[in-house]
Symmetry: none
Subunit: 427 residues, 2 copies
C-alpha cells in the first residue's frame, strides 16, 4: 500500500502542552483513502529541525504531509523554511488577501496588519484555499514527491484534508481502493463484543476482511475493512457480514459510519413528529447540549431544565419535596418525577431525565459515585433504570447521556415498529 509520512511541527507538542490529535485523525483519514502512514515525526519549530525532517521523510516516501507553524506571528516559521527548502520566492496573492480581509469582515473586524503576510505565498506551490481561517495550505511537487503544508488548528487542517488534500492525492497517486464500513455500538464493551462474536470474527479472514475495535467511553466502533477486489463484490460481502454482526448485539448497534446517537434520535423524533424535553441533574446540561449541537434540532427539542439544586426540582419540575426527602434525589421515584415534570411543563411528547452522582466526590456506601438513574416518560408510559458507571466525572456524564440516548432510540424504534405493524395489520 502507498505510504505517506506526517510531520507535526510545534514545540507545544514536544513539551506536552498539546496532545497530537491531528496525526491520529490524519492517520485514520489516510487509511480510509487507501494509504498507510509510515511514520509520524513530531518536531520543533526551528528551521533546522523542519528541514531535517523533510530530508528524512523524502528519503523514504513520496507523500509528506506537514501541519503547524503557519500562523501570522513570529514563532510561525514553516512557510519561510519551505521557501528555503524549495528555493521559492514569496509573492502577494491579491485574491487570498481579499479573502483574509473578508474573513475578518465576517467577524465584524478589520484585518490586523500582521495578517497581511499570510497572503504572501511561495511562487512555486499550489495554494490550497482555507475557508475556515487565514492560513492557506501549500502543495509542492518536487522530484515526483508531494509535500503539503497545512495549519495546525484542527478544524482548519481537517477542512483542508477533506476538501483539498485527499482529493488531490487520490487523483495523483490513485491508491488502491479500500472499503471500510464502521458499525456504531453503545452500552457494551469491546471484550464482551469479542466474546459474543468469536466464531463470526474468525470466519472474516476467509473473505479477506480485517476487523478493528475502536473503543471510546460507553461506545465501541467496529470497523470492517477489505481491499476492493475486481472478482468479488466486497461491498455486498461486507454488508452481509454486518447484518450477521447485528444479530449478536441487536440492541447495541445504533448506526453506521460517523452516525452519532443524538442525530439518530433526532431523525426518529422528526420522522415521528414528536417533541422532547430534558431534565438533568448529574449530566448538568450536557445531554441538552448533545441535542442542540445538531442544526435543526429546534424542530423537536423544546428545552431543558438543569435541576442541580433540589429546590429547582420542586419549583420547576414539580417533584414533591416529600419524595426527595424520603427517597433521596438519586432514586427511581425522583428521576421518574423529573421526566414526567419536564414533559408536562414543556408540553412535549417525551420527557427524559438523569439523576445520579457524577463523582468523584459525593458517593456513599449505598450509592457510590457513578450511580446514575435514567428515565424516559413517553406517550404510552414510563421507563427507568439505574446504572453504575464508575468514578471518573467526565466519563460518567458522557456515559449517562449516551446510555439514555440509546434507550430513547430503542423506545422510538419500537414505537415506530408497533405503528408500522398496526398499519400493516396484525402479524
Amino acid at each position: 500500500m502507498m505510504k505517506a509520512e506526517i510531520i507535526s511541527i510545534g514545540d507545544e507538542l514536544l513539551i506536552g502542552q498539546t496532545i497530537n490529535t491531528n496525526a491520529a485523525w490524519m492517520g485514520e483519514q489516510l487509511s480510509l483513502a487507501g494509504l498507510s502512514v509510515g511514520r509520524v515525526l513530531t518536531v520543533a519549530d526551528t528551521k533546522e529541525e523542519i528541514i531535517h525532517a523533510l530530508d528524512s521523510c523524502a528519503a523514504r516516501t513520496d507523500i509528506i504531509l506537514m501541519t503547524g507553524g503557519l500562523g501570522p506571528t513570529k514563532d510561525d516559521i514553516t512557510k519561510y523554511t519551505l521557501c528555503t527548502y524549495f528555493n521559492s520566492k514569496l509573492v502577494m496573492h491579491k485574491n487570498i488577501l481579499n479573502e483574509i480581509k473578508a474573513y475578518f469582515a465576517s467577524l465584524g473586524q478589520k484585518m490586523p496588519d500582521i495578517n497581511h503576510n499570510q497572503a504572501m505565498l511561495p511562487d512555486n506551490c499550489t495554494v490550497l484555499r482555507n475557508n475556515m481561517g487565514t492560513a492557506s495550505g501549500m502543495w509542492f511537487e518536487h522530484n515526483g514527491k508531494v509535500f503539503v503544508s497545512m495549519p495546525g488548528v484542527p478544524y482548519e487542517m481537517k477542512h483542508l484534508m477533506e476538501e483539498r488534500v485527499i482529493p488531490k492525492i487520490k487523483k495523483k497517486f490513485q491508491p488502491g481502493k479500500i472499503i471500510h464500513r464502521t458499525v456504531q455500538t453503545q452500552g457494551i464493551g469491546e471484550s464482551r463484543i469479542a466474546e459474543k462474536v468469536t466464531g463470526w470474527e474468525n470466519s472474516l479472514a476467509s473473505d479477506g476482511i480485517r476487523l478493528a475495535y475502536l473503543p471510546a467511553p460507553g461506545q465501541v466502533r467496529i470497523r470492517l475493512s477489505a481491499d476492493a477486489m475486481p472478482e468479488k463484490d466486497m461491498e455486498t460481502i461486507i454488508h452481509q457480514r454486518i447484518e450477521e454482526l447485528k444479530t449478536f448485539i441487536p440492541r447495541h448497534v445504533f448506526g453506521m459510519g460517523n452516525d452519532v446517537l443524538e442525530e439518530v434520535v433526532g431523525k426518529l423524533l422528526l420522522r415521528q413528529k414528536k417533541t422532547i424535553a430534558v431534565a438533568e441533574s448529574c449530566t448538568g446540561g450536557y445531554l441538552s447540549s448533545l441535542f442542540t449541537r445538531i442544526s435543526g434540532s429546534s424542530a423537536y427539542y423544546h428545552g431543558g431544565v438543569v435541576s442541580y439544586a433540589n429546590h429547582i426540582k420542586t419549583a420547576l419540575l414539580k417533584v414533591p419535596a416529600e419524595t426527595i426527602r424520603k427517597k433521596g434525589p438519586v432514586s427511581k421515584e425522583v428521576v421518574e418525577a423529573m421526566a414526567l415534570g419536564v414533559k408536562a411543563c414543556m408540553h412535549t411528547d417525551y420527557g427524559i431525565a438523569t439523576s445520579g452522582i457524577a463523582g468523584p466526590d459525593g458517593g456513599t456506601a449505598e450509592k457510590p459515585a457513578g450511580t446514575i438513574w435514567l428515565a424516559i416518560a413517553g406517550p404510552t408510559g414510563i421507563w427507568s433504570n439505574v446504572f453504575s458507571f464508575g468514578n471518573a466525572r467526565d466519563r460518567n456524564i458522557r456515559k449517562a447521556a449516551i446510555t439514555l440516548l440509546n434507550y430513547l432510540r430503542i423506545t422510538l424504534e419500537e414505537a415506530e415498529q408497533i405503528k408500522y405493524n398496526t398499519v400493516a395489520g396484525p402479524k
Copy 2:
C-alpha cells in the same frame, strides 16, 4: 539544554486508532525535569522500522526513550529487536518471574504460560521493575548513550518514568532546569495580541525568553520559556514579564497554566459566597455543562433552563410574550429578561443568559448566523452585549459560552475589587 528523543511504537498510533497521549505526558515530565524533547518518532511494529528509528535518534541525541511492543503476544517485538540491536542474549530472571506470578496471584489468577517469556530479559541491560504490570522496563547504555524501553500501557509507562527512569536520568545527566509559564487569555485573537505587544515581544530575547502563541477557538494561550540561568533569577524575570503583558490586555487574561474559565469563575463565586443560574437559548445546555463538569460546582451553580422554544422563555423565565413578538428572541430585551427571569426563579445572586443564532441556518440579513446576545444580571445591575462570531455552529456555541464566562469573571473580579476598596477605605 540536554535533549531526549521519544520513539512511540505501534501500528494503532499510525492508523489513528489510539491517540499518542504517552508522548505528550512524557514531554511534559521531561520538560519539568529540565530536559527538552528533540523529536517524537511514531513508528510501526516492525523490526526494520524500530531499528531505523533507533539509528536515527542515536545519531542526534544521548537519551532515547521508547514505549510499546513489550506485551507477551506475537505482535510484540520490541524486546527481540533490542536484542538484535545491542547484541544481547535473553536470560531468565527468576526474581522477575516470581514477581509476575505474584502479580497474577494478587488478581486471584494463575499466570498464563504465555507470560513466562516476559521474565526472559536481555543480559546487557538494567531491568526496571514494573510494579503495575508484567512487562519490565529495560535500560541500556551504549557508547555513552542511554536507551530505555517501556510498555505502552499509559499507567505502566507513567509508573516507570516517575519511579525509575527520570530519577536515573537526573542522576546520570544532571540536566539544567527549564522554566515554562503559560498565560490564558479569552476574547482576543493571536494577531491582535501580537499587534498590541510588539515592543514587549521583541524585548524578550534580551532576557533569553522565548514566546509562543497557542490558539484555540475563542482562546489563546501565551507561553514564555527560558532556561534557568544561575546568574539570573529567571522565575522573577518571567513573572515580571507576565505582569507587563497583562497591562496590554488586562481584560483578556483570565488565568495561568492549565486554568479553565469555568473553574476560575467557580472559585470567584465560591470565595464571594454567591450563587448562579443559567438561561440558555443558542448555547443549548453547553454553558451549564461547563459549570457542572467542575466537581463541587453544586456549591454555587443552582441550575439552568434551556429555553429553546419561545413558549418556555415565557412559561419558565417569565419573558413577556409581547417582548419576544416585538423584539424577536435574539434581542437585548429578551436576553436581559431571560437573565433576570432565571435569577428570580432559581433565587440566585447571578443569572446569566444567551440568545442567538448558532447557525449555520436560521440567520437573516439583519441578524446573520453567529449573532449572539449575552447578558449578566447581578446583585447591582444588568449587563448585556451582542457579538458576531461567524458561521460554524460548534464554535459559535463554544465562543458564546466562554465569552460570557469571561465577562462574568470580570464582573466578579470588579465586585471583589469594589468590596476590597470599600473595606480598605476610599482611594
